[in-house]
């Protein structure tokens, strides 16, 4: 990853800025300039969409052989998180004992160091996820049990819910 490319992607990496198609309502992360469903009809109708950063773990794995720069963090958890808006992101889950992560765990975005270009290079920051905080956890878990989302696919966002690599 080059510094200029990372810089261009800062709004999405720093604060989960996605895109919404005003033609069909599909929500996308990472943001897209053209809706994959509406294609030509979405041109000029794609707008920025700030995602809430809240979601649930859909699938996860515990990593013991770290990627470069993650040596200090093993074992760590990588997960596919389904956001409230229906789109899915792959990200690390932190502040958690690896064995306690399971499907359905409510999580929220946190801002962390992702890696650095050596001791003299630039530091890359971005989103990771952590378990939803205590204060809000009870209320939000209660809500999700009381009114479960219709499915992993929100009604107006069929395409946005496809797993996507971040």
């Amino acid at each position: 990853m080059t510094v200029p490319r990372f810089w261009r992607e800062q709004p999405q990496r720093y604060r989960l800025l996605g895109a919404e198609c005003n033609n069909c309502g599909g929500i996308y992360f990472p943001p897209r300039t053209v809706c994959p469903e509406c294609r030509r009809e979405s041109i000029g109708k794609m707008v920025q969409r700030q995602l809430s950063g809240r979601g649930t773990v859909l699938a996860h794995t515990v990593v013991h052989q770290p990627a470069d720069g993650f040596e200090l963090q093993v074992p760590y958890v990588m997960a596919i998180v389904e956001l409230e808006e229906g789109c899915r992101v792959m990200a690390q889950v932190v502040d958690v004992v690896p064995g306690s992560v399971g499907t359905g765990l409510p999580v929220e975005m946190t801002f962390r160091r992702i890696r650095e270009d050596g001791r003299n290079g630039v530091i890359y920051y971005g989103y990771k996820f952590r378990p939803m905080r205590h204060t809000t956890l009870d209320k939000r878990v209660a809500n999700s049990i009381a009114s479960p989302k219709p499915s992993s696919t929100p009604p107006r966002s069929p395409a946005g819910s496809r797993p996507r690599r971040s």
């Binding site: 709004p11 604060r15 700030q50 040596e71 200090l72 809000t136 209320k139």
Partner: protein, 359 residues
């Protein structure tokens, strides 16, 4: 604000403390110190940042909470000052990262502040001036640190990590606490320093304590009393910089405060010395519990040396920003995730690893 018609106050606040802790007895065990070192400092445990946390990440977390607590539109923020002695870059402002993460700017005044442990309160004062003079709508002041002592140094028991964010504005209906007055007492005192490029700080033993912390905090505090015509009894709470769990009570006593006034703002026994964040985290903990009309005395301290003191009155607006599902200071202070010393050393970069070491 004393001396003029303009009013200025805290519109919102946010706190962040990493979840990991290390106990004082674990540090003592490894260095072969007396197991009661922690008791002598009144520090039972301290917070430790994860390898992927630094002043920028903690500042963002605290600032997001402040913005969420009062439902502030990021574009209203016209100034961002991050005070720290452990900025991740020597050259590249931490505030730029905070602004981008909040979606604030690009029309925003910015600089990183440095004044040992009082850079955060200095940032609050700068925001007050800009807000009162209408140069900005809201100012965001942050105090954050991930400080370190040399291995085996007494600072190892206290130097910890945390961040606090304070949003300052001039619209009284938005205040959660009005700032009635602020003053600073500053001298050239070599009690503690770190030279450029050095990883760990040095301290001038002879100056720590009496001619430094106690003299400066007391002088700033006495000036607040004389300018405002108050006595310690007029305040419901007193919050001090807390390099350990003992100094705040001692300086409080020297100024005439009772331990009960100091207790709520004293977090060092449970999280250590969060440096630039310490006094603001103490204030945030008081704001989490205070009632409208409560009066708060605040005095920060930074080595080198100076003390910034404040006189605040809690506003009716405090009720509007409570109970919105935003984490309180206690939500962060309460943690039972303890590290052993080897993991601590690894996390804090005290052991050489090929790459990816913490700063």
């Amino acid at each position: 604000m004393k001396g003029g018609q303009s009013r200025v106050g805290i519109v919102s606040y946010g706190a962040y403390v990493p979840r990991l802790r290390i106990k004082a007895e674990e540090i003592a065990r490894v260095w072969g110190h007396d197991a009661h070192m922690g008791d002598a400092l009144n520090i039972q445990q301290k917070s430790v940042p994860s390898p992927d946390e630094d002043v920028a990440t903690m500042s963002v977390e605290a600032a997001r909470i402040a913005v969420e607590r009062a439902g502030i539109a990021a574009r209203r923020i016209g100034a961002i000052f991050v005070g720290s002695e452990s900025h991740p870059y020597a050259v590249k402002p931490t505030g730029t990262i905070v602004a981008e993460a909040l979606g604030a700017g690009p029309f925003v005044q910015m600089a990183d502040f440095e004044f040992a442990c009082k850079a955060g309160t200095a940032a609050v004062q700068a925001c007050m001036g800009l807000a009162v003079s209408k140069l900005v709508d809201l100012g965001l002041a942050i105090g954050a640190d991930t400080s370190q002592g040399a291995p085996g140094d007494a600072l190892e028991y206290s130097a910890s990590a945390g961040a606090a964010a304070i949003v300052v504005g001039r619209e009284p209906s938005e205040f959660c606490a009005e700032i009635n007055y602020t003053t600073s007492y500053t001298t050239d005192t070599p009690d503690f320093w770190r030279r450029e490029g050095q990883k760990y700080p040095s301290h001038g033993e002879r100056f720590t304590g009496t001619p430094a912390f106690f003299k400066h905090v007391a002088a700033a505090g006495e000036r607040v009393f004389s300018e405002m015509g108050t006595t310690p009894e007029d305040y419901d709470y007193a919050v001090f910089h807390q390099p350990n769990g003992k100094f705040p009570k001692m300086v409080g006593k020297k100024l005439g405060f009772r331990d009960e006034q100091v207790a709520l703002g004293l977090l060092a026994p449970r999280i250590g010395n969060t440096y630039s964040a310490a006094v603001l985290l103490g204030l945030a903990n008081v704001l989490d519990a205070a009632k409208p009309g409560d009066r708060i005395f605040v005095a920060g301290y930074g080595s080198g040396a100076g003390s910034d003191a404040f006189d605040l009155t809690v506003s009716p607006g405090i009720a509007k920003i409570r109970g919105r599902g935003v984490p309180t200071v206690e939500d962060f202070v309460r943690s039972d995730e303890f590290l052993d010393d080897a993991t601590y050393a690894k996390y804090r970069g005290k052991i050489q690893v090929p790459s990816g070491g913490a700063t």
